[in-house]
């Protein structure tokens, strides 16, 4: 039996989604002529500003293109569902946002994305655009601590892109933007847990098997297997398991500040997310860490997967300023 989806044609789903997005958000977004998978901010790219291009596979909405706008990313290159975009649409994004001060590519650390974005970067270099890359690696469940560079980029993208976008919008130098982007990545820690699978529009089949009373800790945002299967736990137990791992790495001191993101993997409703946030706040209060800001909702999803992820960004004055810097995107506003 096929999973239920409100679509017309699985192979056209991504392009039809993009049409619907441009229909809804033409005030914020436009797409490059002849390259409909290259989505550019109407306001944002400008001479002298470092350009910020993000991107990756579809199915994670509002990541990536929801975060394209003034004060955040200048463009997003969109791939098929759970598949990196090819080099061409990435290159088109780079050209569209290049303001002469260099273009920063930011995306999650996945083999496919790395190969495609690197090819695009090589092509851009031939057009004499200076391109640098900062990979996001916030998923603490995806590799041991001493191999941070191997980790996946997941919901923490939100904080990391936000910091880099703010740095660009403040017209900081390419070196400064890159430094802040790397710092934001190093200060951001995410862990997720999945309860039920999603299904690709083309296959309409659950992309993994899981027992009716099981959950999976550390599941990737493409349904990649995580680190452990276990019986479904209580919200507090799930939050504790995530926070134990995150806080052990972040090692905050009393009085430190963090930003919190409690993210739905897709179908988990706000009621459950806020119950998790309740516990997150309790735990942070217990160790004297103050919460500067909290976001709760669908920020980095896996289609209709059920589950939650918790992200903490360890703030210092600079990262806090970047977080508070205003942005105005199609699907997200702050400041």
């Amino acid at each position: 039996m096929q999973t239920k989806k409100i679509i017309n044609d699985g192979d056209r789903a991504v392009d039809e989604m993009l049409e619907g997005i441009l229909a809804a958000h033409s005030r914020h977004l436009w797409s490059v002529d002849g390259s409909p998978r290259s989505i550019i901010a109407r306001d944002g790219p400008r001479p002298g500003k470092v350009g910020l291009v993000i991107g990756g596979g579809s199915g994670h909405e509002p990541t990536f293109l929801g975060f394209v706008g003034k004060g955040l990313a200048d463009a997003a290159a969109i791939g098929n569902v759970f598949a990196s975009p090819p080099p061409d649409p990435i290159l088109e994004c780079i050209k569209a946002v290049s303001g002469g001060a260099g273009v920063l590519l930011m995306y999650g650390n996945y083999a496919g994305d790395v190969m495609n974005f690197d090819m695009a970067a090589e092509m851009a270099a031939m057009d004499d655009v200076e391109v640098r890359t900062v990979l996001t690696t916030d998923d603490v469940a995806s590799a041991p601590r001493d191999q941070r560079q191997k980790r996946r980029g997941v919901a923490g993208n939100f904080f990391i892109f936000k910091a880099a976008g703010a740095a660009c919008d403040r017209m900081l130098s390419f070196d400064e933007v890159e430094r802040i982007a790397r710092k934001a990545n190093n200060h951001t820690f995410t862990m997720g847990a999945a309860l039920s699978p999603c299904s690709l529009p083309q296959t309409r089949r659950p992309n993994f098997e899981i027992g009716a009373d099981e959950m999976e800790i550390g599941m990737g945002i493409h349904g990649e297997p995580g680190i452990a299967r276990c019986a479904l736990k209580s919200a507090d137990a799930i939050a504790d398991e995530m926070l134990d791992k995150i806080l052990a790495e972040m090692a905050p001191s009393r009085g430190d500040k963090v930003a919190v993101l409690v993210n739905s993997l897709g179908s988990t409703p706000l009621m459950e997310l806020y119950i998790v946030n309740r516990r997150v706040k309790q735990r942070l209060d217990d160790i004297g860490v103050s919460v500067h800001a909290t976001w709760v909702g669908n920020y980095c999803t896996s289609l209709e997967m059920a589950g939650v992820s918790v992200t903490l960004e360890h703030l210092d004055g600079e990262l806090q300023a970047m977080l508070d810097h205003p942005c105005d995107c199609a699907m997200f506003r702050a400041g």
């Binding site: 098929n80 090819p86 496919g112 995806s142 993994f208």
Partner: protein, 218 residues
């Protein structure tokens, strides 16, 4: 026949696309176990696009290298993902290996085959044993080159290559992934065939059947 032209390579892409389409679901299922369940989709999208793109070329005026570059570009733009750059690079390198030739002799086909495997390896920076398609492509290419060097004809050489690819893919079961999406699984990737290696077997089998006239018993 002992030499191959653009028309033969079109047939080759027909054969590959048909082989992948037939096993699309199995490839998605393999990828579902240790990856993100879309490998069959990506490969089918890519080879259907490549087949259509090369079908549109004029066999009379277009030479093999151009056809291979066309296939590379259309595959890449239809897919992205991991398979996109890997196979696009394979075909671009294959093109470079037969640049300027109007028709390909058996030795050219072997050289093209070898270059494709090398392209995948270079693009992915993966070594054999890392549980990727390289574990099918590299032994296949080595076997083909060795066999042909030892005087075997193209059909025999590609037959040996295909057998090596099958063994190599099977062997990925006992490997722990250290490249690609599955590389975070560690131990948990043990016991499963790598989907990219499995699809490589299909691709190599289709190359063999179309160029060496061998048809797998059904």
């Amino acid at each position: 026949m002992t030499s191959f032209g653009t028309a033969d390579l079109k047939k080759m892409f027909d054969a590959i696309a048909a082989a992948i389409e037939a096993d699309k679901d199995r490839l998605c299922q393999l990828d579902g176990v240790i990856g993100d369940a879309d490998h069959g989709i990506a490969m089918a999208l890519g080879f259907n696009a490549a087949r259509d793109a090369v079908a549109a070329l004029d066999a009379a005026t277009v030479e093999p290298a151009t056809l291979l570059n066309t296939a590379a570009k259309s595959f890449l733009n239809a897919v992205g993902a991991s398979s996109g750059p890997l196979y696009a690079t394979a075909f671009m390198r294959g093109a470079a290996a037969v640049k300027g030739k109007a028709t390909l002799a058996a030795s050219d086909v072997i050289a093209m085959f070898q270059a494709m495997a090398q392209g995948i390896k270079d693009r992915g920076k993966a070594e054999p044993g890392e549980k990727t398609m390289v574990d099918a492509w590299q032994p296949a290419a080595e076997a083909a080159t060795a066999a042909h060097g030892a005087g075997k004809d193209l059909a025999e050489s590609l037959g040996i290559a295909f057998a090596a690819a099958e063994r190599g893919a099977e062997a990925t079961k006992d490997m722990i992934a250290t490249k690609g999406r599955s590389s975070r699984l560690g131990e948990r990737s043990l016991g499963y065939i790598d989907p990219g290696a499995a699809s490589a077997v299909l691709v190599i089998g289709a190359i063999r059947s179309s160029l060496a006239g061998y048809h797998r018993p059904r």
